[in-house]
């Protein structure tokens, strides 16, 4: 199998890698770029664990060929935190304040509500939820349920996830 050079915009960084042309975006993110935060659950498009954002739209990385992504911006869970907090707060700032300034409101709300149990569906869930909040500032419970209907979670029963997304929305 011949490898193909690919240039991807991932989490604001321009990355060039060589990968087999049949390898999926999921494989390239995890194996070539070391972004293992994006999970593989079924690699059949059923579970949503591999959800990433392509130009802000949630896609299943396991069903996406990187060649088709082109110049679009890819955001993974590693790109969800801004990384802005450390500098903004200065050396003396409290760790928790710094964390709040750095993390996405969804990440904080998920922690507070216990919406991540084993944590394996969480990255995909967060990315789907981010896409929802970016387009719908105050989603209803029905809109949340509809948005994350493609992201399976076996631990929580979803209630804590709904509540965390609502909490993050209320703080935005």
């Amino acid at each position: 199998m011949t490898k193909q050079l690919l240039t991807l915009h991932v989490n604001g960084e321009l990355r060039t890698i060589a990968a087999d042309s049949h390898h999926t975006l999921l494989e390239v993110l995890r194996e070539e770029l070391g972004l293992t935060g994006t999970k593989h659950g079924c690699e059949l498009g059923e579970c949503g664990a591999c959800t990433v954002l392509v130009d802000g739209v949630p896609v299943l990385a396991c069903l996406t060929l990187p060649a088709l992504v082109g110049d679009a911006d890819v955001t993974t869970v590693e790109g969800l935190a801004t990384g802005a907090g450390a500098g903004a707060q200065g050396a003396g700032a409290g760790r928790e304040a710094e964390r709040e300034a750095t993390l996405h409101p969804l990440q904080i709300a998920f922690a507070e509500e216990g919406a991540a149990q084993c944590g394996y569906c969480t990255p995909g869930m967060l990315m789907t939820a981010k896409a929802l909040l970016d387009t719908t500032a105050r989603p209803t419970r029905a809109q949340i349920a509809s948005a994350i209907s493609g992201n399976l979670c076996r631990c929580t029963g979803y209630t804590a996830i709904y509540e965390a997304i609502e909490k993050a929305a209320s703080r935005a």
Binding site: G41, C118, Y120, C121, L152, R154
Partner: protein, 619 residues
């Protein structure tokens, strides 16, 4: 200030931040230098003799580094020492579609996958058995030659109280049959293992397992490598639910391929393979005969279950007992007979899944309770409340009941759902139902008989006041790492976020038997508390000396050791640690032998198992 500074407070789990940022390292997230990728060849036949496995073409395939087959690891293994009937990879015979037969290690996963099709397995098909009925009757088709009667794996017959009188004095007897379909855990993370055999002849296996200690034992047995040279690290499990509680073929295959190649080997199952690995909830056929008085008071229950165990033992002995043992704990039953039979069939092996073995009989029994209520014109919710097993009592099969919250639970249910008013009033196609259930907290016995603790803990305090808790528990998403940190933090007077947790590592942490039977908080939690209290005593004594106060006036919370009567008199936790280390040396404590022990009187079910089916001592 409340009695507790940590326990009962709503704090983020200590491992939340790793989960929420993608930093958590699950087994498949590990990439080691020179690592090879493995894939498992699985049986395409439900029941067949293996005449020959030819791996020569696969071995010759460019990029393939090693191939192993069942013949390389013929030692019998299995989770329960008394019923070991599996091999890591099939030897001579396959018993279900998907059974591991061979494994390949290659430079990349695509090559390993391609090489599987180059392995030639010559099968001689045998007649398969697919149903409980066939398994019971077909003595001519033996899935395991060792089975005494047809394909029966295990039979249990237990009787408690006077069943005959119970039924004779009943005003009404119901006799119902039920069938519970099996189901599977489907964790979002598929099983994955990374093995690394080093030039020092030591093997490290990172794997998504609920039972690192039991796996450690089986690796020794199957690989013939002393346990002292094996280190098992249970990686954070991306969901498990009982499905990662057995030793699995791919774990041994990764280990042997690494030993053969002297390179790290990773095997991650794909979703289809997770269904073959299975160990899911047993399909169970049940017959329940229950006698009641006119007012509904139960006089006797005769419960019979037939479990479809699939091709191998797994936890089948325990499952068989569980189907009968816990039926008595919710409602008063003065006489009880239990007959359980588990059979082999040519399907993926069944095993433990959330509420191990109790969900199926609960479904049947609770349906029957509803039917009895209907027969006697009673409200099903009120009826259940009337016949509750009381708190602080013993069941007819001598299980100890401590608290009994089912009544309050039913009251809360009625308040929130208005069950009694809405039952039968929701129109065609809609309904409302309820069921009671109960489960044990902590398995009374280890799966191999021994006098050692079920769980041990070691705690270290460093010179900066940092607390490290080491315990062999496996984090499966139930929050055990957070529990360990919280228990230690509460006892010592720091916050969970100040605690480092080392869990699931057979080299660094004392043994915990595993994440099953709702036992971890009870047993590992007690072990951690025990070790922490020893260190707390040293720190408090050092602080008392410095503050010139009696030690019993000092409390420890929020990183301070302070005077109960005047909290402005305090010493920082880290300073107390320095004083204590100056006096006592390195601050390390371990839990006592019985810290994780179950109550002194083991339940009858446990005693009975010990005498009748005592597991062989390990070889």
């Amino acid at each position: 200030m409340s009695e507790f500074s940590v326990i009962g407070r709503r704090l983020p789990k200590v491992n939340s931040w790793a989960h929420l940022t993608g930093e958590a390292r699950y087994a498949d997230d590990l990439f080691l230098p020179r690592m090879l990728y493995g894939r498992v060849l699985r049986s395409t036949r439900p029941h067949a003799r293996i005449r020959r496995v030819d791996t020569s073409r696969a071995l010759a395939h460019p990029g393939v580094v090693a191939v192993v087959t069942g013949a390389d690891m013929p030692e019998k293994m299995g989770i329960m020492p008394s019923t070991q009937d599996e091999t890591a990879l099939a030897v001579d015979r396959v018993r279900y579609v998907g059974e591991p037969v061979a494994a390949v290690a290659a430079l990349d996963e695509d090559t390993a996958f391609d090489a599987l099709s180059l392995i030639q397995v010559d099968y001689e098909d045998l007649e398969p058995i697919f149903t409980i009925e066939e398994a019971l009757e077909r003595a001519d088709v033996k899935i395991h030659d060792e089975a005494k009667r047809a394909n029966v794996f295990k039979e249990v017959h237990l009787s408690f109280g006077d069943l005959e009188t119970g039924f004779a004095t009943a005003d009404h007897v119901r006799d119902d049959w039920f069938f519970f379909e099996g189901n599977t855990h489907a964790p979002i993370e598929s099983h994955s293992a990374v093995a690394a055999y080093g030039p020092d002849d030591k093997l490290t296996l990172w794997t998504a397992t609920q039972v690192p200690h039991y796996l450690h034992r089986e690796l020794e047995k199957v690989l013939g490598l002393p346990r002292s040279r094996i280190r098992v690290i249970a990686t954070p499990n991306g969901g498990a639910f009982g499905g990662k509680s057995d030793p699995f073929g791919h774990e041994f295959a990764a280990a042997l391929l690494s030993i053969r190649t002297r390179r790290p080997v990773k095997i991650t199952l794909d979703r289809e393979e997770v269904f073959y690995a299975h160990r899911g909830r047993h399909p169970v056929k049940m017959r329940i005969r229950t006698g009641v008085k006119k007012d509904g008071e139960i006089t006797a229950v005769h419960y019979q279950s037939w479990l479809d165990g699939g091709a191998y033992a797994s936890y089948g002995i325990a499952t068989t007992y569980y189907t009968g043992a816990l039926l008595t704990v919710t409602y008063r039953i003065p006489a009880y007979k239990f007959d359980g039979v588990r059979v082999y069939t040519n399907k993926p092996p069944c095993g433990p899944k959330r509420g191990h073995g109790t969900t199926q009989p609960r479904y049947g029994f609770e349906c029957q309770i509803d039917k009895i209520a209907e027969d006697l014109d009673l409200d099903p919710l009120e009826y259940r409340k009337k016949i509750l097993q009381p708190a602080n009592s013993r069941t007819v099969n001598d299980l100890r009941i401590t608290s009994m919250g089912l009544g309050e639970c039913l009251d809360a249910l009625q308040r929130s759902t208005r069950y009694s008013e809405r039952r039968g009033q929701l129109g065609r196609g809609k309904g409302i139902g309820l069921a009671g259930s109960a489960y044990i907290s902590g398995a009374g016995l280890p799966i191999y008989w021994n006098e050692m603790p079920h769980s041990g803990a070691e705690i270290r305090i460093d010179r900066g006041g940092g607390v490290t808790v080491m315990c062999g528990t496996s984090e499966i998403g139930q929050g055990s790492d957070n529990m360990l940190a919280s228990v230690a933090a509460e006892a010592l007077g720091v916050m969970p976020s100040d605690v480092h947790v080392v869990s699931g590592d057979t080299s660094l942490a004392p043994v915990d038997l595993g994440s099953y039977s709702s036992r971890v908080t009870f047993m590992a939690g007690n072990a951690v508390r025990d070790a922490a209290m020893k260190l707390r005593a040293l720190l408090v004594a050092a602080a008392a000396e410095k503050l010139e106060l009696p030690a019993d006036r000092l409390l420890s919370a929020y990183g301070r050791i302070y005077d109960r009567d005047d909290p402005s008199k305090f010493i920082a936790f880290a300073d107390a640690a320095v004083l204590a280390e100056s006096k006592h040396g390195t601050l390390v404590a371990t839990s006592r032998p019985r810290a994780s022990a179950v109550p002194s009187r083991a339940p009858a079910w446990g005693r009975r198992r010990r005498t009748r089916t005592r597991p062989r001592s390990p070889r």
